[in-house]
C-alpha cells in the first residue's frame, strides 16, 4: 500500500510527492491556497499558488510583496510529477478546490465550498476523484439553508421595518465574501447602504475583478447620525460593541451567518435578528457534493466532522474525520461554536479610540468565526 498523496501534518495538509502544502497554517516554502480567508491563508510563505481571480484578495491578506503565482480555473500544471489544477468552489471570489493527480490516483481538497447560487463568484464545479478531503462545517441535518433569494427578501423586509421605525440597520457579516454577496443582493433604491472600512477594501478588489456591486460608500465619508437613519450598514462582527458603532443612534443589529440557524447562537451574540445565510454547504449540499465526487474515500475537516463521517459510513462510504490543528478530541474537531472565539470585549481595539478599527486583521475578518475556531 502506498503512502497517501496528502497527509495531515503539524503545518497543515502536505503533499509529499510534490513537496507542497495546501492551506498551511504556518509559513512554508510552497503553499497552494484555496482562498484568502485567514484560516486558509497565512502570510510569509515563500511561494503561493492560487487562482487568478483570487490573486488580489490573497495579496491583500498576505501582503503585496508576496510571491503569488496565479493559475486559471481548470488549467493543469505539473509539479514534481504531481498534476495540480484548481476548480471553482463557489465559496467566495477566487475560491478553489484543489485537484491533485499522481500515478493515476486523484485527490481533491474541497477547501470551503457551497452549491447555492452566489452572483459574486464562479459556481461550484463537481470534480471526480478517488479520495476527497471535504469541509464539514455545517455537517448536521439541522443545517438546511432556505433559498438565498428568500433570505435576501427577509433582510430587505427587516431593513424596511427598521426604516419605518426610524432606526439604522446594522448588519454584521464577514467582510470578505459575505458582505459582497449581501451587497449584490440588496436593492440600492431602497435606501442608502454604507460599509465599514474593512468591507470597503474587499469591495474594491471585487469591483476591480468586474463583480457588479451597488454603490456603498464607507461610513467614514458619511455625515452625522441623521444620515444613517434609513441606511443599512454592513460591518464585520468584530465591530459590534466597539466605539465605531456609536455613531449610529440605537441601531437594530442583524447578523448574517449560517450559525444563525440556531436560536441559541443568535441570542448569545446579542443581536436582534439572525439571518441564516452561509457561504458553506449545508447538509444536503455536503451530501450532494460528496456523492457527486464519486470518491471511495472521504476525509472530513472542520465543524461536525465526526457526525458527518459516521453518517457517511452508515451509507457505506469509507469516511473519517481528518485530524487537524484544532485538536483536542481524537479524530477531529467538534469545536464548533461560532462565536466564542471572539468575545465582544476583545473585539474593541481600543476603548478610547473612536476611529474606525480597520487594521489588516480586522479587514479580512475571517470566517474562522463562522467556524468558531481561530
Amino acid at each position: 500500500m502506498r503512502d497517501p498523496l496528502i497527509k495531515s501534518t503539524e503545518r497543515g495538509l502536505y503533499c509529499a510527492a510534490g513537496d507542497f502544502y495546501i492551506d498551511p497554517w504556518q509559513p512554508v516554502d510552497r503553499a497552494v491556497v484555496t482562498h484568502a480567508h485567514s484560516d486558509h491563508a497565512v502570510p510569509e510563505c515563500a511561494h503561493y499558488l492560487t487562482t487568478a481571480p483570487g490573486r488580489e484578495l490573497l495579496a491583500l491578506r498576505v501582503g503585496e510583496g508576496a510571491d503569488i503565482q496565479p493559475l486559471a480555473y481548470g488549467q493543469p500544471i505539473v509539479h514534481h510529477g504531481v498534476g495540480v489544477s484548481l476548480h471553482p468552489a463557489g465559496h467566495i471570489l477566487g475560491s478553489a478546490q484543489v485537484r491533485l493527480e499522481h500515478r493515476g490516483e486523484v485527490w481533491l481538497v474541497s477547501g470551503d465550498y457551497k452549491l447555492s447560487p452566489d452572483p459574486t463568484c464562479a459556481p461550484f464545479e463537481s470534480v471526480r476523484c478517488h479520495c476527497l478531503i471535504s469541509e464539514s462545517t455545517f455537517g448536521l441535518p439541522i443545517f438546511r439553508w432556505a433559498p438565498p433569494a428568500a433570505t435576501m427578501q427577509d433582510i430587505t423586509a427587516w431593513w424596511q421595518a427598521n426604516q419605518q421605525a426610524g432606526r439604522t440597520s446594522l448588519l454584521l457579516c464577514y467582510a470578505l465574501g459575505k458582505a459582497q454577496r449581501l451587497l449584490a443582493g440588496l436593492d440600492p433604491e431602497r435606501g442608502p447602504i454604507y460599509v465599514h472600512g474593512a468591507v470597503e477594501r474587499c469591495n474594491a478588489v471585487y469591483r476591480a475583478a468586474g463583480v457588479p456591486l451597488p454603490p456603498a460608500p464607507p461610513v467614514l465619508d458619511a455625515a452625522r447620525a441623521a444620515a444613517f437613519e434609513r441606511a443599512l450598514i454592513l460591518a464585520p462582527p468584530s465591530a459590534q460593541n466597539t466605539p465605531w458603532t456609536r455613531r449610529f443612534k440605537r441601531p437594530v443589529r442583524g447578523f448574517a451567518s449560517g450559525w444563525m440557524q440556531i436560536r441559541g447562537t443568535r441570542r448569545r451574540r446579542v443581536v436582534d435578528r439572525g439571518f441564516a445565510l452561509s457561504d458553506h454547504a449545508d447538509w444536503p449540499e455536503l451530501l450532494a457534493a460528496i456523492a457527486g465526487s464519486g470518491a471511495e474515500r472521504v476525509l472530513l475537516t472542520h465543524g461536525y466532522a465526526q457526525a458527518l463521517a459516521r453518517h457517511l459510513r452508515e451509507q457505506g462510504l469509507d469516511a473519517q474525520p481528518l485530524a487537524t490543528r484544532f485538536l483536542g478530541e481524537a479524530g477531529g474537531e467538534e469545536d464548533v461554536h461560532p462565536d466564542m472565539s471572539e468575545s465582544p470585549d476583545d473585539a474593541a481595539p481600543d476603548a478610547d479610540d473612536t476611529r474606525e478599527s480597520d487594521d489588516l486583521q480586522d479587514m479580512l475578518e475571517s470566517p474562522a468565526d463562522e467556524r468558531g475556531r481561530r
Partner: protein
C-alpha cells in the same frame, strides 16, 4: 398559530422590555379574544400538561426526517433545545393553515392527551405538514410542556393594562388563581375596574430584593422592621366564602399538602388574606428545609411523615382584613392588625413571625451572623411606612442573607447547556477529595461570565477523557469556589451530602486540583 408564533419570535428577538410590551400589546389587540386568552395563559407561564413524551417526539421526528437516533442526539446537542431541533429536522410542510390559536389548542393540542400512541403519531404527522419552522417550534414546546418565553409576568401585565386602560395591579390580581382561557375570561381581564375578586384569588406576592449596600445606608434603624428570612415555602392563606385556600408563590393550591392548617386557619374571620411562610417545625425548633422537601416529595402524606415533619404557617403580613384590601396601608398598621388577628389563634399550625428586636444596625448584624443556627437564611428588612406593593418593588423589602457556604472543588464533568448556552459546555459537575479520589458532590450552572464560559468550554473540548452521551469527563485540572445556601445528609448522593442552590462563586486559577477541599470540609458544615 401563525401570528402567535410570530409573537414568540418577536419576543425572542428583542431584549428591550418596551419592545416586548409593544409586541404583546399589538398581538392582543389584533387577536380574537379567545386567542388572546390562550396567549396570555401561555405567556404568563401557565402551560398545558405535557401531552407527548419527549422520547416519543424524538423517535417520531427522527423517523419523519430520516435521521437516526445518534444523529438526532448530535443535533440536539448542537441546538440545545429539543423543540427547536425537531422543528429544524422535519421536512418542510406541503400545506398551510390559518387555524387560529384557540382552535389549535382546544381542538388539536389538548385532545392529543386522550389519544393512543398510534393516533397521536398520525395526528402529529398531519400537523407537521401544516406548520412552518417557527410554528413547529412553538407547537413542540406546547405539547412537551416546555413552553417558556423570555417575558416576565410584569410585561404581560403592562401590555394588558395598557390595552384595557386599567391599573397593572388590577390585572395582576385578575391573573391570580385558577381560571380557564376563554373569550369571556379575556374580556373580563381587560374590562374596566370593578367588582369583587373571585373567592379563591390571592394577591400578587410582594418580593424582596437582595440587599446590596450596607444596611446603615437604609437610614434610621427604627424606620425598618426586621424579621428572620425563613427557609420554607412562601404562601398566602385566603379565607373567603366560608372556604380556605392556600396558595404557593407558584400559584398552586397546596392546602391539601398541609392538612394541619385546616382547623386553625378555618377559624380566621371571613375576608382575611395572610402572607407568610410554610415551615417545618417541632415545638420551638424550626427544622431544616430538607426535611420539608422530604415531606413534599411524598405522594401520600402518611401519619408517620406528618409526625416526623410537622409543618405550620408563619404569618408575616395581612393583605385583606374584614373583606377589605388593605395593601395600601403602611406596614406598621398592617402589622398591628395582623397581631390582633393571629395572636389569639396562635398554636402549632399558625404562628406570628416574630419581629427581631435590635437597637441598632450593628446589633442586628450580630444577630444575623447567628442565622444558620436558627435554620434561617438571614434577615428581612421591611420599611415600616411602605404599602404592600405588587411584584418586585425595589426599596421597600430587602433580603439580607448570610454569605453562602463555600468550598473549592474540581471540575470533573461537563455537559452542553440549552437556550443561549446551546453547543457550549456550560453545565458542570464538581468534585472534592475523599481517600485520594475525587467524589462528585454537586452540579452548578451559574456564576461564570460569558468569557469565562468560553474559556472553560475550550478547556472541555481539549481535555475530554471520556464521553458518556452528551456528558464529557474532563481532566481534573480546573478549580472553582462553589457556594451554596445549605447542606444536608443525603443517601441519594454518592458523596453523602446534598447542597442547596450551588453556584460558582469564582474561578480559582491560583489553585491546583490538589488544593481543592476534602469531603470532610463539607461534612464539617453539616
Amino acid at each position: 398559530m401563525r401570528s402567535f408564533a410570530a409573537l414568540y419570535a418577536a419576543l425572542d428577538e428583542t431584549t428591550r422590555t418596551g419592545e416586548k410590551v409593544a409586541a404583546i400589546r399589538a398581538y392582543l389587540a389584533a387577536a380574537a379574544p379567545e386567542d388572546a386568552a390562550w396567549a396570555v395563559y401561555f405567556l404568563i407561564g401557565r402551560k398545558p400538561r405535557q401531552v407527548v413524551g419527549t422520547r416519543k417526539l424524538r423517535a417520531w421526528v427522527g423517523d419523519a426526517a430520516g435521521v437516526s437516533e445518534w444523529l438526532f442526539d448530535e443535533c440536539h446537542e448542537a441546538v440545545g433545545d429539543l423543540a427547536e431541533t425537531a422543528a429544524l429536522l422535519l421536512p418542510p410542510p406541503t400545506r398551510t393553515t390559518t387555524l387560529p390559536l384557540h382552535r389549535w389548542v382546544e381542538e388539536r393540542l389538548l385532545p392529543l392527551a386522550g389519544l393512543d400512541e398510534a393516533a397521536q403519531r398520525a395526528a402529529l404527522r398531519e400537523f407537521w405538514d401544516e406548520l412552518e419552522r417557527g410554528e413547529r417550534l412553538v407547537f413542540h414546546k406546547l405539547i412537551t410542556g416546555a413552553f417558556r418565553v423570555g417575558v416576565s409576568q410584569r410585561l404581560v401585565i403592562a401590555a394588558l393594562a395598557e390595552l384595557g386602560d386599567i391599573a397593572p395591579a388590577t390585572v395582576a390580581h385578575r391573573l391570580m388563581g385558577a381560571w380557564q382561557p376563554s373569550a369571556a375570561q379575556f374580556r373580563g381581564l381587560v374590562a374596566a375596574e370593578s367588582s369583587e375578586p373571585a373567592a379563591s384569588r390571592p394577591y400578587p406576592f410582594l418580593l424582596a430584593h437582595p440587599l446590596d449596600t450596607e444596611p446603615a445606608e437604609l437610614g434610621p434603624r427604627d424606620a425598618w422592621q426586621a424579621e428572620w428570612k425563613w427557609d420554607g415555602i412562601r404562601a398566602q392563606i385566603v379565607r373567603r366564602g366560608g372556604q380556605l385556600f392556600v396558595w404557593s408563590r407558584g400559584e398552586e393550591l397546596i392546602g391539601e399538602r398541609f392538612p394541619e392548617l385546616a382547623p386553625v386557619a378555618g377559624r380566621l374571620p371571613e375576608g382575611t388574606v395572610l402572607d407568610g411562610e410554610l415551615l417545618p417545625w417541632r415545638g420551638d425548633q424550626i427544622l431544616p428545609f430538607a426535611e420539608l422537601q422530604r415531606r413534599i416529595g411524598r405522594k401520600n402524606l402518611t401519619r408517620t411523615i406528618l409526625a416526623e415533619v410537622p409543618a405550620g404557617f408563619l404569618a408575616f403580613d395581612l393583605l385583606e382584613h374584614g373583606g377589605r384590601d388593605i395593601r395600601e396601608r403602611p406596614l406598621g398598621e398592617r402589622r398591628r392588625l395582623l397581631e390582633q388577628l393571629v395572636t389569639p389563634l396562635a398554636g402549632d399550625a399558625l404562628r406570628l413571625s416574630p419581629i427581631v428586636a435590635a437597637a441598632g444596625w450593628d446589633e442586628l448584624a450580630a444577630l444575623r451572623a447567628d442565622s444558620r443556627a436558627r435554620n434561617v437564611e438571614g434577615l428581612m428588612l421591611k420599611r415600616k411606612a411602605a404599602p404592600y406593593g405588587v411584584g418586585r418593588v425595589r426599596g421597600d423589602w430587602w433580603k439580607w442573607k448570610l454569605d453562602p457556604l463555600a468550598v473549592d472543588a474540581v471540575l470533573v464533568y461537563a455537559q452542553s447547556g440549552s437556550g443561549r448556552r446551546a453547543s457550549l459546555f456550560t453545565d458542570y459537575t464538581f468534585a472534592v477529595w475523599e481517600d485520594g479520589a475525587l467524589v462528585p458532590f454537586c452540579k452548578a450552572y451559574s456564576g461564570l461570565t460569558d468569557a469565562e464560559l468560553a474559556e472553560v468550554d475550550r478547556f472541555v473540548r481539549g481535555h475530554t477523557l471520556e464521553r458518556f452521551g452528551p456528558v464529557r469527563a474532563v481532566t481534573p485540572e480546573l478549580v472553582f469556589e462553589i457556594g451554596f445556601e445549605g447542606i444536608a445528609r443525603s443517601r441519594r448522593h454518592k458523596s453523602g451530602v446534598a447542597v442547596r442552590f450551588p453556584r460558582i462563586l469564582r474561578w480559582r486559577r491560583d489553585k491546583s486540583p490538589a488544593d481543592a477541599d476534602h469531603l470532610d470540609a463539607l461534612r464539617a458544615l453539616l
